[in-house]
């Protein structure tokens, strides 16, 4: 894993809080301090670790108001208040101001680190009896009576009470920091976990994509290999077929009965091999998408009549009857004549092959709509507007196929059971080629079958566009 890709969680993982302001909401802290002030009547100020004042709940004291009217009082007061604000102790301390009132300055320590402090006061210690002498000397114009009056209105707190109040406030602030810190860590952890999981998934996806690309490459190589090999095999085979044909015809001299029989076998098997190789070549061309379709306007009925003529001898031999059912005036289709004949011949050959003697095979055609089989839905009214088409049906009364096998029969090399190749011949390539040829014509092929009753293949080819 490279550094850039790795999710950074190091700051989070150290899980630090450097200042109170990072984790505490100022507004809420102000509310807490205000209610604290309302409860105890003592001013309170909370500072962050960097010295920023976060919350301030206080009331101007009468003694401060009075002292500010005197030049000496103003000076002495501001000096003692400054000293309080500047103090950042490691342990709680108590500071006294000119009026004899005290402040408790309490550091807030979280996980061994000073994250802020609070200042409680000024308040008069309950234990204080006399007016401090320093206060009386602060300014020559000081009115002792006014000072006494102002001091009497100030909050007085016992030492032990003050300590309890400090401990309580400390506890509240500590809870606030702890809870916020935990919530902060949790949410951050959620984010980095999601990011980390995403990164893992992205890596896996990339690996899968590479594997997929490689497989596609291999598939292409396989098709190329198939094409090359088929082509190379065909060349010598042509000579084998040609020379055996010439021998058969007696060009190299007359043959005895047994010799003729052998040569005919060589010729027959050669032709069979050639058909297989041609199929392979077709399949690989179709897979590579290099098979060219050269459409012409064709008449469906004529195609079926021709087909029936071609297969009549084979059917008669097997005692299977062929019927053609096609109305006149069917729309013309645009199809490659060679390929459409290949499609229909293949289906016809299978139908005759799998129909027992006494059965019949029907070649039918009718006009229909070509529907996309997506089950409609999104924008179907526009996207799946039906096209006029011609459906070719090849129906037999043969052995049929189990329903669960039907979706697989268009796969290359698929045969319902291996024994049928030996019994009926064939390569298992026929239907896969048919399917691809139909696709190349923008058509569809469907099959319906019932074991023991027969099979219907329906090939639908769109009508030629008029104009």
């Amino acid at each position: 894993m490279n550094d850039a890709a790795r999710t950074s969680g190091i700051d989070l993982a150290f899980g630090d809080v450097s200042g109170l302001d990072e984790v505490v909401d100022r507004e809420a802290l102000r509310d807490v301090c205000r209610s604290f002030f309302d409860l105890f009547g003592i001013s309170i100020r909370v500072f962050s670790g960097n010295g920023a004042l976060l919350a301030d709940a206080h009331e101007e004291l009468a003694i401060h108001t009075y002292l500010r009217t005197l030049p000496g009082g103003r000076r002495a007061l501001s000096e003692s208040v400054d000293a309080v604000i500047r103090t950042t102790p490691d342990q709680p301390v108590q500071l006294e101001e000119i009026s004899g009132a005290v402040y408790d300055v309490v550091p807030l320590v979280y996980q061994g680190r000073r994250v802020g402090r609070f200042v409680l006061g000024p308040y008069l210690p309950a234990e204080m009896k006399e007016v401090p002498r320093a206060l009386l000397k602060v300014d020559p114009a000081l009115d002792r009576e006014k000072v006494r009056e102002a001091l009497a209105s100030m909050p007085r707190v016992k030492r032990a009470t003050a300590e309890r109040v400090v401990a309580h406030l400390r506890g509240i602030l500590d809870l606030l920091v702890f809870s916020s810190h935990r919530a902060h860590l949790t949410s951050e952890m959620h984010v980095v976990s999601v990011r980390e999981s995403y990164r893992e998934l992205a890596e896996k996806t990339a690996r899968l994509q590479t594997a997929y690309d490689r497989l596609r490459e291999l598939d292409k190589l396989k098709s190329n290999f198939l094409a090359t090999v088929s082509h190379e095999l065909r060349t010598p085979l042509t000579s084998i077929i040609g020379y055996s044909e010439m021998l058969e015809a007696g060009i190299a001299g007359p043959l005895g009965d047994e010799q003729l029989d052998f040569v005919q076998t060589i010729h027959g098997k050669g032709e069979q091999l050639l058909a297989l190789i041609t199929s392979l070549l077709d399949l690989s061309k179709l897979e590579q998408g290099v098979l060219r379709i050269e459409p012409q306007l064709l008449d469906a009925r004529e195609l079926l009549v021709d087909l029936a003529k071609t297969f009549e001898p084979a059917a008669r031999k097997k005692q299977v009857e062929i019927r053609v059912e096609a109305p006149p005036n069917l729309p013309r289709i645009a199809a490659d004549p060679v390929r459409i004949k290949q499609i229909l011949s293949n289906l016809a050959e299978n139908a005759i092959k799998f129909t027992p003697p006494g059965g019949h095979v029907v070649f039918a055609a009718n006009e229909t709509d070509l529907d996309d089989d997506d089950g409609g839905g999104f924008g179907a009214v526009l996207l799946a507007a039906p096209r006029r088409a011609v459906a070719f049906l090849v129906r037999d009364t043969g052995i049929g196929m189990p329903r669960e096998e039907l979706p697989k029969i268009f796969d290359a090399f698929y045969q319902i059971d291996g024994s049928s190749t030996r019994e009926h011949g064939g390569t298992g390539l026929g239907l896969s080629i048919v399917k691809r040829l139909v696709d190349a014509h923008d058509g569809t092929i469907k099959v319906d079958s019932e074991p023991g009753k027969g099979t219907v293949f329906t090939v639908t080819i769109p009508e030629a566009e008029s104009g």
Binding site: M1, D3, R6, T7, S8, G9, I10, L12, A13, F14, G15, D16, Y110, Q111, G112, R113, R114, F178, H181, R182, L185, T186, M189, V192, S193, E196, S197, E200
Partner: protein, 222 residues
């Protein structure tokens, strides 16, 4: 490790790793209850479900390093369940030392091994070399039936290079020793890598002695 020159603070990250239910959180709880409140803060537990850790636990410990430096230890646990690997890897980032908490029950041998290999892999993923990373191993749950005998453990311990500690974390036994063992090993490596003594005046012997006495462990036992 993080050093904050301004506030003269040094933060060390220790991670408690191990298979699910081996007692990582219990170790932290025990330390928290055994150590004085001036040394430790609150034990923070992030996200649990049915008492199982989903994210991590965090226990802060603070020691005086001498030379005016405060040394803060952050103890983390990882979630042990196999599916939380991304979280484990994140928590392990920047670890200075790792305590591997194994379950002593013989039936848990395989999950101990898998968790250890997983730790090794996650250390590597975080750019930490497992061969030099300070690791101690704790065999926890010594009080349960069906555990390996002490002799067996000692024999096994001799084969490995990591110090091995025995513990019953639910009773707090062996927990402080494990932490101290990890602290010593980690500190010695930090000293070697960052020359803390030379640069900051943090004498390892003085510091470790200070930690031991704060944790109430007599010198001879260390």
């Amino acid at each position: 490790m993080q050093i904050d020159f301004k506030s003269r603070e040094l933060t060390v990250k220790l991670v408690y790793y191990g298979p699910a239910l081996s007692g990582k959180t219990t170790n932290l709880q025990a330390i928290h209850s055994l150590v004085s409140p001036e040394t430790t803060g609150r034990l923070m537990t992030l996200e649990t479900r049915d008492d199982r850790t989903l994210f991590f636990d965090l226990l802060p410990l603070t020691f005086d390093g001498g030379a005016g430096i405060q040394v803060r230890f952050k103890l983390f646990t990882v979630p042990g369940q196999v599916i939380h690997n991304a979280t484990r890897r994140l928590v392990l980032q920047g670890a200075d030392g790792t305590a591997f908490i194994a379950d002593s029950q013989i039936s848990e041998t395989r999950s101990n091994q898998q968790a250890f290999l997983n730790m090794q892999e996650n250390l590597r993923e975080n750019g930490i070399d497992p061969a030099t990373h300070p690791i101690v191993i704790q065999f926890n749950k010594r009080d349960l039936p069906g555990v390996r005998t002490d002799e067996e453990l000692e024999r096994m311990a001799k084969k490995g290079r990591e110090p091995v500690f025995k513990a019953v974390a639910t009773r707090g036994t062996g927990v402080i020793e494990t932490f101290l063992g990890l602290t010593e090993r980690t500190w010695r490596q930090l000293e070697e890598r960052h020359q803390l003594h030379e640069k900051f005046g943090l004498d390892p012997e003085v510091f470790l002695r200070g930690v031991r006495s704060r944790l109430g462990i007599p010198e001879a036992a260390a």
